[in-house]
């Protein structure tokens, strides 16, 4: 057995690690675990920082089928944060008994889908519903989504960050003007606009700087605000009331901005996104003993949660999967009482967990890789990475990134403020998602992979720590043209 301690929380790491080793050894001695299973067992001890997440305290992840001529992978993931005092032995015993289908220790779960890649899991339908019906969620919870963010407000609005961003852009314009290459219209795009606060503050600041320096760039600015929700765009207008003549509000899919904005190919001088990539569909890969595995998931409700929700919302237990599908199709109107429908939505979301299994990448078609990524990108990225690794593919971020770059003017640049993993070793030093953030999903973004892919598109990527707020875990990705 190998135990990986992936966090160093003083209040949990040592105690849980000791208890895990002692408990597994005693379960082995008592015959709850076969010696052959013990020999290939890998235990990961995590600290899941998201209070709401998709994990049980103890979760088993196995290979979907026995590998030819080799022992299949078997992993236990333990969330130190969730393990209740005195419960570990029972949880581990239950996990080991689940290896035998005829010897289940917990009542049957209510499954909401078959095993699949996380990027196509029903979890993302919940995420989409949240953004489309944000108002319903906020009314029921009594707080705005920004108030639900860690720290209670968005880092996108930081005045220091905005001032620097404006100064960088003004410098670019001045430089282009000096070379007689300043375009007549100065296009800027912000994707994922929130309440429009950042865009409003940015334009206020830019106008002030432009006036102070007498450059007269401001009237030539064309500021595009893109979001996939018309409701969100409408909510952002008041914050931009002083600049409406320069603004366009455009419904677009963050995964494919070029589709909507193809008429601006090679025209946009500055593109900005804050906390968009961490909320785009994602999936994970695992490297174990030199082999690559895809991680597949299956969403479920525990028997206890299913019974509770069923009783509280007046939905028959066996009807739950059907009503949940209806919720994801039409929203809280899935129940006759709309307010109860919102409660149902919030309770189901809180309760949804994901089972995991590993599928040997060699058994899947190469088309499983997201567009823009191929085996050679992956090979390059993993060349210097730790041999045993579980990491995000950041599928949605990658797709968005490659479908945004063609919009950039030859001298234009992209800035993305988000939570990035910039060193693959960090994946072994903490949990990087998925977690639940209010009604949405949050995932760290694999910056190493983005950097590898960007090079093939002619850009170098750089990551600067977001130093404007002490303790922030965000970084700012920015592109420079690769010669």
């Amino acid at each position: 057995m190998i135990l990986y301690v992936n966090h160093t929380r003083r209040d949990a790491a040592a105690a849980t690690a000791n208890e895990v080793v002692a408990t597994v050894l005693s379960l082995l001695e008592e015959g709850h675990l076969e010696p052959s299973q013990f020999a290939r067992l890998r235990i990961d001890l995590d600290w899941v920082q998201y209070k709401q997440n998709f994990r049980e305290a103890v979760m088993v992840t196995r290979e979907s089928s026995e590998g030819a001529g080799r022992a299949s992978v078997m992993e236990l993931h333990i969330d130190s944060r969730q393990v209740a005092a005195g419960s570990l032995r029972e949880s581990l015993q239950c996990a080991f008994s689940s290896l035998n289908p005829e010897n289940q220790c917990e009542p049957a779960r209510t499954y909401l889908e078959e095993f699949r890649s996380f990027r196509s899991s029903i979890a993302w339908d919940f995420n989409r519903l949240y953004w489309h019906r944000l108002k319903d969620w906020e009314q029921a919870s009594g707080k705005s989504y920004e108030a639900a963010l860690p720290g209670g407000k968005s880092e996108a609005h930081d005045p220091g960050a905005i001032a620097d961003s404006v100064a960088d852009f003004w410098t670019l314009l001045k430089d282009l003007e000096g070379q007689s290459q300043l375009p007549p219209e100065l296009f800027i795009l912000e994707i994922g606009v929130g309440m429009g606060t950042r865009a409003g503050l940015w334009l206020d600041r830019f106008r002030a700087l432009d006036q102070k320096r007498g450059t007269n760039f401001y009237p030539r600015v064309r500021f595009l605000l893109g979001d996939y929700s018309q409701a969100t765009l409408d909510r952002s207008r008041p914050a931009l009331r002083e600049h409406l003549d320069l603004c366009s509000f455009i419904v677009l899919d963050a995964l494919d901005p070029i589709k909507t904005l193809s008429f601006l190919r090679h025209k946009i001088l500055h593109i900005h996104l804050t906390n968009v990539y961490d909320n785009l569909p994602d999936e994970e890969l695992v490297r174990r003993d030199g082999r690559i595995y895809w991680l597949q998931v299956r969403a479920y409700l525990s028997a206890a949660d299913a019974a509770r929700i069923s009783s509280e919302c007046g939905v028959a237990n066996q009807e739950l999967p059907k009503i949940i599908n209806r919720l994801l199709e039409i929203g809280p109107e899935c129940l006759a009482d709309r307010a109860l429908g919102v409660t149902f939505w919030q309770e189901v979301w809180k309760a949804v967990r994901l089972e995991e299994r590993l599928v040997d990448a060699d058994s899947l078609p190469s088309s499983s890789y997201p567009e823009g990524l191929d085996a050679s990108n992956l090979e390059n990225m993993l060349r210097d990475a730790p041999s045993d690794l579980r990491f995000h593919l950041s599928t949605g971020a990658l797709e968005s990134f490659r479908n945004t770059l063609p919009l950039l003017h030859p001298r234009g640049y992209l800035q993305v403020q988000d939570i990035f993993v910039t060193n693959l070793g960090d994946y072994r030093m903490g949990f990087h998602g998925p977690g639940k953030l209010d009604g949405s999903i949050v995932n760290w973004v694999n910056g190493v992979l983005l950097r590898e892919v960007a090079e093939r598109f002619g850009y170098d990527l750089h990551f600067a720590p977001f130093h404007y707020r002490p303790g922030s875990r965000a970084s700012v990705l920015y592109t420079t043209r690769r010669e």
């Binding site: 090679h266 050679s376 030859p410 093939r456 002619g458 010669e483």
Partner: protein
């Protein structure tokens, strides 16, 4: 061979397959030999030649698939240029290179490339070379008093090679100078150097000037107005320019300045994978015909097809040929 009116050709490069990119990179990682890579290059060059023929082009190239990029193929061959061979991680990266002494005259190997091309096609064949102005932008100059002097010496060495090409039958030679668009202030000496390069070269010489195609995207934006009137001093027979992606507004410059050159008009946007229809191509040609007689027009993509997937590149060339045929028919040809 008699060419039809509105002859069709390519700017130079054909689609670079992903598997060849990986093999080239493997070579730099010392995982395959030069001999094996040369054999792969021969095979893929034959395939490119046959694709260009099958697309129906009147003048074809070897597809330039032996080249890692438009600079390094020449940097490697220019005698006296020192290269840091460890400076490439990916095959498409530029070498870190410098010149530390006067360039001696030597063969650049283009004659062998041309012979190879001619041995596999009966069609008219074109050789494309990167021009001195572009080359000096990527080679650190540690010897010559100025970029202009360095470029002039490159032109002197390459001029000998172009004359050798003519001796073995090359009739179409294209000089690629995209960096003019990034450094318009260099144009006066750039044209002088260009004239040194083509001096005494008895072939149809063209200069191709675009806005860059590095990684399949433009390196600069602007208007071709910067070329005029200084480009009129160039002693080439043809200007080859991009108009498909940028729109045809700059065609008016040909009305305004009535240059003596033929025009190679770009009618295929190589920076998008969307395939033009023959009708769109025909419309672009008709627009060019408003400022230039058909006898002085050549039909090309905006730039090389290097970054396009093979199926897309082939479909675009087919559309270009078909659209050209439509216009020829309208002209009674």
């Amino acid at each position: 061979m008699n060419l039809p009116i509105l002859p069709t050709t390519v700017v130079g490069s054909y689609s670079m397959p992903g598997w060849l990119e990986r093999l080239k990179t493997e070579y730099f990682a010392r995982r395959i030999s030069r001999h094996d890579l040369d054999e792969v290059h021969d095979a893929v060059t034959k395939a490119a030649i046959k694709d260009e023929e099958a697309a129906g082009l009147d003048i074809i190239t070897d597809g330039e698939l032996r080249r890692d990029n438009m600079i390094d193929y020449f940097v490697e061959k220019l005698p006296g240029v020192q290269i840091d061979r460890s400076s490439k991680k990916f095959y498409y990266d530029f070498y870190d290179s410098e010149v530390v002494g006067k360039l001696p005259a030597a063969s650049l190997g283009l004659v062998e490339d041309f012979r190879f091309l001619k041995s596999f096609t009966e069609r008219e064949a074109k050789v494309c070379v990167t021009g001195p102005h572009s080359l000096v932008k990527r080679i650190r100059n540690k010897h010559y008093p100025s970029e202009a002097a360095f470029a002039a010496d490159i032109a002197r060495v390459m001029n000998l090679e172009l004359k050798e090409l003519v001796k073995v039958g090359a009739r179409y030679i294209q000089i690629d100078e995209p960096y003019y668009s990034g450094f318009p202030e260099d144009l006066d000496w750039g044209v002088e150097v260009l004239n040194t390069l083509v001096d005494g070269v008895e072939a149809k010489t063209a200069v191709h000037i675009c806005y860059g195609n590095r990684y399949g995207k433009p390196s600069w934006e602007g208007s071709y107005r910067y070329l005029f009137p200084r480009i009129l001093k160039a002693k080439v027979k043809q200007l080859t320019l991009e108009f498909a992606r940028r729109g045809g507004e700059d065609l008016d410059l040909f009305r305004e300045f009535a240059p003596p050159f033929e025009l190679g008009v770009g009618v295929i946007d190589v920076k998008t994978q969307a395939v033009e229809t023959p009708d769109v191509v025909a419309e672009r040609i008709r627009k060019a015909l408003e400022v230039m007689p058909a006898e002085k027009l050549f039909i090309l993509p905006d730039c090389g097809c290097f970054h396009l997937p093979r199926a897309v590149a082939f479909a675009k060339l087919r559309a270009m040929v078909e659209g050209t045929r439509q216009v020829r028919k309208e002209l009674g040809s």
